[in-house]
Each structure stands twice: as structure tokens, then as C-alpha cells.
């Protein structure tokens, strides 16, 4: 019984220390919340929140098992020079209370984290995908090909947005919903546009990714919430996240999140330039 009490106290202390460390780690992220990603898009807040919540749940479970392994080793380990080499005195082969609590707790815990943050977070992600015309979403057509991201802005007559050095670039205004309409095909191979492969549209700082599948059109709606650019934060970049051939490591594009007025200026310059 003494073992149980000592173990219990150590477990509580270790869990509290772990929670304190986890919380400090979560809040140490440059953006203030979320582990290394979070506040740059509305979807990122949801996904980073799910991560943080599971971390908090996982700490005491982790502490229990690790402490159990170490505690057993130290407390129940037989010293090399010990004279007593026999079997253990306690030969308990079942403990209904322990087994019952274990099974019930693991079932409840799993159902709980399935409901929150999983189902609850998903509901928020799904809800964020619905837009009313009054929100005036920005539409960006994303074309993934081996190996390039091509962005066009049909509302502004921009067929392919390029920066000064001729690289594809994604400009987004802050706080306006963006609807990415994504397809995977090669517009430059007009004789066979079906040959492209699965890519994945991922902006690490936005905390979300969506695969771009040949033959299908998929959409992703999110709202950028912070002024930044790839030069300021390399997490803010479009990165292909599904292996797509030799050019896969190079399949990225820079992003700028700018104010509404700067965005309007940029669209005019792009439209006249192209």
C-alpha cells in the first residue's frame, strides 16, 4: 500500500510539473499561442488549439507510464548482491478494480478526445468552409503542376501572379476570406493535361493542408489574420506536402499577407503587368 501512495504522490507531482512545462512550451511560440503555428489563419487557430489540448491531456498519461517503468525498475529491481533470488512474494494475477478502472478510463478518454478537440474542431473547420456572398471572398485559382504552384486571381484579371524575378507568388489581404480553388494539371502540356500527380497545398503558418488531386477540383476557405511574408517568417510559404517527383523539394512559393490597400495596389500593378 505504501508503494501505491508513494507512486500516487509522485505521479501527481510529475503531472503538475509536466503540465507547467507543456503550458510554458505552448506559450513560448513566437505567435503567442500554438506550438510554432497558430494565429496566422482562422483554421490554424483551430488546429493549433487541438494540438495544445491533446498535449495537456497527454501529459498525465505519459507521466503515469514513464513513472511506472522507472518506479518499478528502482523499487522492485533486485540488487545484484541480493541473497534472495526467489520468486516474488506477491503473485496477484488479477485485480478487478485496477483492470476495470483502466478499461473504463481508456474508453472514456478516447471518446472524450474524439469528441473534443476532434469532432468539435472539425465542425469549426467545416463551418469556416461555408461562405455567404456578403463576405466578398477573394478567389484564388491554384494550379499545381510538376513542379510549380500557379496562382491566378479571376476577380482581378490576373492569370499568373509573378514577383519581380519571375517566381510565382501569392499575395493575400489580411482579414478577408480567401477561397482557394485547387486543381492538379499541367496547363503547359496541352496535348495531355491529365498526366499530373497528387500534390498537397500546405502553408505551415496557416496550420492546414489539402491534397490537390488530378481530375478533381477541391476548395479550401480560410482567412489570413496577420500581416507577414515569407521573408519575415519562413513558416509562411506554400510548400508541396505530398511527394510528387524529383522537383518536390523545390515546389514552394512565397507568400505576402498585406493590408487591403496594399493588396489593391498590387492587383492593379499585376493586372497591367501581365
Amino acid at each position: 500500500m505504501a508503494n501505491v501512495v508513494v507512486f500516487g504522490i509522485m505521479w501527481i507531482v510529475l503531472s503538475l510539473l509536466g503540465e507547467w512545462g507543456a503550458s510554458a512550451w505552448i506559450h513560448s511560440a513566437p505567435q503567442g499561442t500554438g506550438v510554432f503555428w497558430g494565429t496566422m489563419s482562422n483554421l490554424g487557430v483551430i488546429t493549433a488549439g487541438a494540438f495544445d489540448f491533446i498535449l495537456i491531456i497527454a501529459v498525465p498519461i505519459f507521466a503515469f507510464v514513464v513513472l511506472m517503468l522507472v518506479f518499478s525498475m528502482i523499487r522492485f529491481g533486485v540488487r545484484k548482491n541480493s541473497t534472495d533470488k526467489g520468486d516474488a512474494k506477491d503473485q496477484t494475477r488479477a485485480n478487478k478494480a485496477f483492470i476495470g478502472i483502466w478499461i473504463v478510463a481508456s474508453i472514456l478518454l478516447n471518446i472524450f478526445i474524439w469528441l473534443h478537440p476532434n469532432a468539435s474542431g472539425l465542425e469549426q473547420v467545416f463551418a469556416a468552409q461555408r461562405l455567404s456572398p456578403s463576405q466578398k471572398p477573394l478567389i484564388v485559382d491554384v494550379t499545381a503542376r510538376q513542379w510549380e504552384w500557379i496562382f491566378s486571381y479571376p476577380q482581378y484579371g490576373i492569370t499568373q501572379s509573378l514577383d519581380a524575378s519571375g517566381n510565382d507568388v501569392l499575395y493575400l489581404p489580411k482579414n478577408r476570406p480567401v477561397k482557394f480553388v485547387m486543381r492538379s494539371f499541367d496547363p503547359f502540356h496541352t496535348y495531355d493535361t491529365t498526366t499530373d500527380v497528387i500534390h498537397s497545398f500546405w502553408v505551415p503558418a496557416f496550420g492546414v493542408k489539402l491534397d490537390v488531386v488530378p481530375g478533381e477540383t477541391r476548395t479550401l476557405v480560410l482567412t489570413p489574420t496577420q500581416l507577414s511574408s515569407t521573408e519575415q517568417d519562413p513558416m509562411l510559404r506554400v510548400q508541396c506536402a505530398e511527394v510528387c517527383g524529383p522537383g518536390h523539394p523545390y515546389m514552394e512559393a512565397n507568400i505576402h499577407i498585406v493590408t487591403a490597400s496594399a493588396f489593391a495596389k498590387w492587383t492593379k500593378a499585376q493586372a497591367s503587368g501581365s
Binding site: 488546429t47 491533446i54 520468486d87 478537440p117 491529365t194 488530378p214
Partner: protein, 625 residues
């Protein structure tokens, strides 16, 4: 026939006068494989003759490969020991002796087990060296060792394929399973011993096919060989499909053989309730393999045809996600095929080392069985970033739920260790480390099982860290535990406790230093399958690589130590751990047919303490005194 009868008696030495001394089987197999390749490739070239087509076309490479495989299997001994006896000829009495018996078609499950272990270990070294090369490349954000991304991606693919299909799936199942299962159930041999003897030779064929596939053209898909990328990839992908076909066929034969053996060859009194935990593990893995391997083999043959015809099954004209669906339908049960032997090994070894009866044995067995049944219902969690919204909730539900039966292994292990008298030997230390590592693998799985978090973590280094913790941390550490535990059984010798513990601590520290970093790298935006990456990630990648090199060296230390102990280690008594299971009831190494008189089981094997019933009566043949 008289000679054959003598050979089957088994107790007399086999007459050494050969019918006709053949070439060394491996050399002959290589020669026949070459002939088989040339003949079938020529046939395909003749059937579709064109003055402009190359002698080896895509079709010819596939046809020739099947010719080479048949030549290889006939040459290694299939001709004398399978084909000729089927036609009424006597089985030749001549067998290679000494170390040479490991280099031919064997029927002794112990020889076959060691053949599997050897192939697994050798492949572990090769694929491990490839991993070292990958880590060397990743020390710098620009191309260094691999000047072209496709060569790096091809290295990733070969590393993953070999590790998965030749080490993770094979070492504990084909290797330890073949060696230990008949001994642990009191059988003299396995049911399909000849098929088993042929099956093991599919492994080197598959390994060579995959390892040399870049000769036909680099492939960049990683270990999944996934379409539609594969269709536009280098022709080497064909030898990925065919090589994996050979490797999975080998494991399928192991599965059919061991499952049948466990069902029909248990000794008297060995009821299902008394079946050792390790054998339960092998049974569930065997059933998983029988269910899922034919599925992936069919898929790979479809993809082969799709590539050489081409059929447009898996691109925008067909169903672009179809291959991924077929692949993960097998791919998730596959990871349980890898890890269930590890879970079973924990609860096999822990009661022996803690001198305490196994806690909650029925729950430990049920855990393995439920993992087996649930594992086919979680597969689509590999596709959260491209599935329908309506599919996300059910698949995340089953994925969370599978942690419950997996947790039963911990329940039994922890309950057994509590209040025990634990002898912290090298195998026990490895088991504790494996439990720790696999727990990190499991708990990081909570994050990727959660769909919102998965939308960020999918295909980052977080996932790479997660599965290396489950597979190296869970399976490889348990494999090492089992190797140290059963070393006295294999050779009658034992290891050095100091070097064993040093090796364990070395790989444990280096492993955690390496793969803990993977989680942080993933959170900081490092994605998979890249040989070059944004410069801000370089410092952390640099230190990860340094730790990885220490890890590689640590595995080398363990390997050298085990080989030394096997050949030259100090001799030990017959049952050094005072274990109760049947494999310790015969001499070490066991005679050709294991038991002179079959043991009769009268109680379970995991009962300790005063008045615990002895599990075996009538143990004969060199049992411990």
C-alpha cells in the same frame, strides 16, 4: 528409398555419400536465375519483335524477372527437393553439412529461422547505411551527397521498403517465429516445412530486386510506390513492385505455415488457454498477413500492368486516389503486423524476469486479438488531407479506439511488474526501453489521429518521428530484447552483461536524441521527402544527423556483441532464466527434431510463486537437471 527413410528418422547421421554432389546451391541458383531471365526476356522480345526496340524492354524486364525468380528457386534446391519428388523420384539424400546447410533449401524450422534472421540483419545494415546517407544529406539545406533530388528520394524509397518488408515484417515473424513457435508448442517441425524452406529464399531475391531497381531508372514515390506518380516515374518502380511481391510472398508462406502449425501441431495439453503469449502474437500476426498480404500483392500486380500497358487506372482518367486507398487498406494492418510481435514479446519475457505470474493474461491475449480485428478499420487515417468530410469522423473514431486494445499490453506488463522481483538483465532493460519508446510512438499518434491537428502534422517530420518511435522504438528494441533473451537457446552461449547493458543504453539514448528532434522539426515546418529545405531548419537537422550517426554505431555495437556471444560467448546452463515455456525443456541448441519425447503440458507457463504448478510432465531429452 531406404536412404530417405533413414534421413527421416533423423537420429542417425545422414549418409554423407551424395547421389551426385551438386554445385553450391547459391551459385547454381544465381546461374539458373540468369538463364531464366535471358530466356523469358528473349521470349517477350520475340513475341513483340521490332528492329528498333531494345533487347530489355519494360515488358521484358518484368517477364525476365519472373524467369529469374523461377530459376533462382529451382536452383537453390527446388528442383531436387520439390519438382523431382513430385515426379516420383526419391528425395536426394545428400545435404550440405555444417555452415553450408544455411546456404541451401532447408526443411528444419530452426535453420529457416536463422536464415530469416540473417537476411533481416543484413538488410537492416544495408537500409541503415542508406539512412545514414540520408541524414548526411540533411545536415545541409543544399544538395551535397545527393546532387539530384530523385537519387535522394530513391534512397528514401529503398530504405523504407527494405526496412518494412525485410526487417520489420520479417525479423520477429519469419525469423524468431519460425525458430521458436514449434519449440514453444512442443512440435517436432512445422506443417509446410518444404514450402517454408523455399519461401525464405524469396527474401534475398526481393532484396536484390529492390536494392538494384535504380539501375532501370530512379523512382521517387517513397516506400508506398504510389500512383499516379509511379506511372510517370522511372522504370525502376517495376522492380519495386516485383521485389515487394517476392518479399510479401515470403511472409505469406511464413504466415500460412505458422498458423497451420499452431492450430494442428500443439503438443498434448497445450490448450488455447495455455498457449504462450509469444505464440499468440505469432498467430494474430499470421492471420493479419493471410488476410492483407494477398490484397497488396494484387494491387502491386495491377500497378505493374498499369505501368507497362498503360491502363490509366490510377490517374485523372481513372481513380487517382485508388492506389492510395488500396495501399493503406493493407498499409495500416501492416504496422500492426510489425508491432504485435513486440507487444507479445514484452509479456513473454516480463514474467520470467520479474519472477511473477503474468497479470491479467486473458486481457493481454484479448488485446492482441482486438488489435488484429480493429486494424483493418483505421487505414484511411493516412488520407485525412484528401478524404470526404463525412469519412473523417468514423475513421478518427476507430483510430482512437485501437489505442484501447494496444493499451492492454501495457496493462498486463505494468500489473506484472508491480510488487515483483525484477531482475534487470539486458533483455529486461530492452523491454523497458521498448515500452517507453513505443509509448511515445503511441501518444504522438493521438495528435495525428485528431483530424484538425492532422491537417497540419500530416506528411511532416512529426509523422516520421511517430512511426520510427513505433517501429524502431517498439519493434527493433523488442527484437534486440528477444535476441539477448533467446541467445542461450540458439547457441548454448550467452552474452556479456556489461556490453549488453552498454549497448542498450547507447541505442536508447541515441535513438531518443535522434527521433525526438523529428517531432520538433515537424512542428517547425519540415516536410517529408525533401533533400533540400529552407535554411532556417539547418541547425536542428545538423544535430539530428549527429545523433543519428551515434545511433547507427550503437546498432553496430549490439550486432558485434551478439555475433561474438553466439560464437564465442561463455557457455551457460540449459535454462539460464529459469523460464517455464517449452523451448527451454530441450537442449540448446535443440536437436534436429526438437524433442526426443514430446512434453505434455498440465498447467500454464506463467505461474510463479510458492506452490505454482509445474507446467510440464515427461520433459525428456536433455532437459535441465
Amino acid at each position: 528409398m531406404a536412404q530417405r527413410a533413414v534421413a527421416e528418422e533423423g537420429n542417425q547421421p545422414t549418409p554423407v555419400t551424395p547421389d551426385r554432389r551438386p554445385m553450391p546451391p547459391v551459385l547454381r541458383a544465381l546461374l539458373w536465375a540468369l538463364i531464366g531471365f535471358v530466356v523469358l526476356d528473349a521470349m517477350s522480345a520475340l513475341l513483340d519483335y521490332s528492329p528498333n526496340s531494345p533487347y530489355i524492354s519494360q515488358v521484358g524486364a518484368v517477364a525476365g524477372w519472373f524467369g529469374a525468380l523461377i530459376g533462382w528457386l529451382l536452383g537453390i534446391g527446388g528442383y531436387e527437393y520439390v519438382i523431382k519428388p513430385m515426379l516420383g523420384h526419391p528425395t536426394p539424400a545428400y545435404r550440405q553439412q555444417g555452415w553450408r546447410r544455411y546456404f541451401q533449401l532447408a526443411e528444419d524450422h530452426k535453420v529457416i529461422g536463422i536464415q530469416y534472421l540473417t537476411f533481416s540483419t543484413g538488410t537492416f545494415l544495408v537500409a541503415g547505411l542508406i539512412a545514414m546517407a540520408m541524414r548526411f544529406q540533411l545536415m545541409n539545406y543544399r544538395p551535397t551527397l545527393f546532387q539530384y533530388p530523385q537519387s535522394y528520394l530513391n534512397a528514401v524509397g529503398i530504405h523504407g521498403t527494405l526496412m518494412m518488408f525485410t526487417v520489420a515484417t520479417v525479423a520477429m515473424f519469419g525469423g524468431l517465429g519460425n525458430y521458436m513457435v514449434p519449440l514453444m508448442i512442443g512440435a517436432r517441425e512445422t506443417v509446410f516445412s518444404k514450402a517454408s524452406g523455399i519461401g525464405v529464399w524469396l527474401v534475398p531475391a526481393g532484396v536484390l530486386t529492390v536494392a538494384f531497381s535504380p539501375l532501370l531508372g530512379a523512382w521517387t514515390t517513397g516506400w508506398r510506390g504510389y500512383e499516379p506518380l509511379a506511372a510517370s516515374d522511372g522504370v525502376g518502380i517495376l522492380y519495386y513492385y516485383l521485389g515487394v511481391f517476392a518479399l510479401t510472398m515470403s511472409s505469406l508462406i511464413v504466415a500460412i505455415n505458422l498458423v497451420t502449425t499452431i492450430i494442428y501441431k500443439r503438443t498434448r495439453g497445450l490448450t488455447w488457454n495455455r498457449l504462450p503469449l509469444f505464440v499468440w502474437g505469432m498467430l494474430t500476426v499470421g492471420l493479419l498477413t493471410v488476410i492483407w498480404f494477398p490484397e497488396i500483392q494484387t494491387t502491386f500486380l495491377l500497378a505493374t500492368i498499369d505501368k507497362i500497358v498503360p491502363m490509366n487506372m490510377f490517374n485523372a482518367l481513372g481513380h487517382a486516389l485508388g492506389f492510395s486507398e488500396f495501399f493503406w487498406l493493407f498499409g495500416h494492418p501492416e504496422v500492426y503486423i510489425v508491432v504485435v510481435p513486440a507487444l507479445a514479446t514484452w509479456n513473454e519475457i516480463i514474467p520470467v524476469m520479474t519472477r511473477k505470474s503474468l497479470f491479467a493474461r486473458p486481457i493481454a491475449v484479448l488485446g492482441l486479438v482486438f488489435v488484429m480485428m480493429l486494424s483493418g478499420m483505421v487505414w484511411a487515417h493516412h488520407m485525412f488531407t484528401n478524404m470526404r468530410y463525412s469519412e473523417m469522423l468514423p475513421f478518427s473514431f476507430f483510430t482512437e479506439m485501437i489505442s484501447i486494445p494496444t493499451g492492454f499490453a501495457y496493462l498486463a506488463a505494468i500489473g506484472t511488474m508491480w510488487n515483483s522481483r525484477m531482475r534487470i538483465t539486458t533483455p529486461m532493460l530492452f523491454i523497458l526501453m521498448s515500452m517507453y519508446n513505443f509509448f511515445i510512438g503511441g501518444i504522438t499518434g493521438l495528435f495525428v489521429a485528431d483530424v484538425p491537428a492532422n491537417l497540419q502534422l500530416h506528411n511532416t517530420f512529426w509523422v516520421v518521428g511517430h512511426f520510427h518511435f513505433t517501429i524502431i522504438g517498439g519493434m527493433v528494441f523488442s527484437w534486440l530484447a528477444a535476441m539477448y533473451y533467446w541467445l542461450p537457446k540458439f547457441s548454448g552461449r550467452t552474452y556479456n552483461e556489461f556490453w549488453g547493458k552498454l549497448g542498450a543504453i547507447w541505442v536508447f539514448v541515441a535513438f531518443n536524441a535522434t527521433f525526438m528532434n523529428f517531432f520538433v522539426l515537424g512542428l517547425r515546418g519540415m516536410n517529408r521527402w525533401v533533400s533540400v529545405y529552407p535554411p532556417y531548419l539547418q541547425p536542428e537537422n545538423f544535430w539530428t544527423s549527429i545523433a543519428a550517426f551515434f545511433l547507427g554505431a550503437g546498432f553496430g555495437v549490439n550486432l558485434v556483441h551478439i555475433i561474438w556471444a553466439w560464437v564465442k560467448g561463455p557457455k551457460v546452463q540449459e535454462n539460464p532464466w529459469q523460464a517455464k515455456t517449452l523451448e527451454w525443456q530441450t537442449s540448446s541448441p535443440p536437436p534436429r527434431y526438437n524433442f526426443e519425447e514430446l512434453p505434455v503440458v498440465v498447467a500454464g507457463f506463467y505461474n510463479y510463486g510458492e506452490g505454482a504448478p509445474e507446467p510440464v510432465v515427461a520433459a525428456q531429452s536433455g532437459s535441465q537437471g
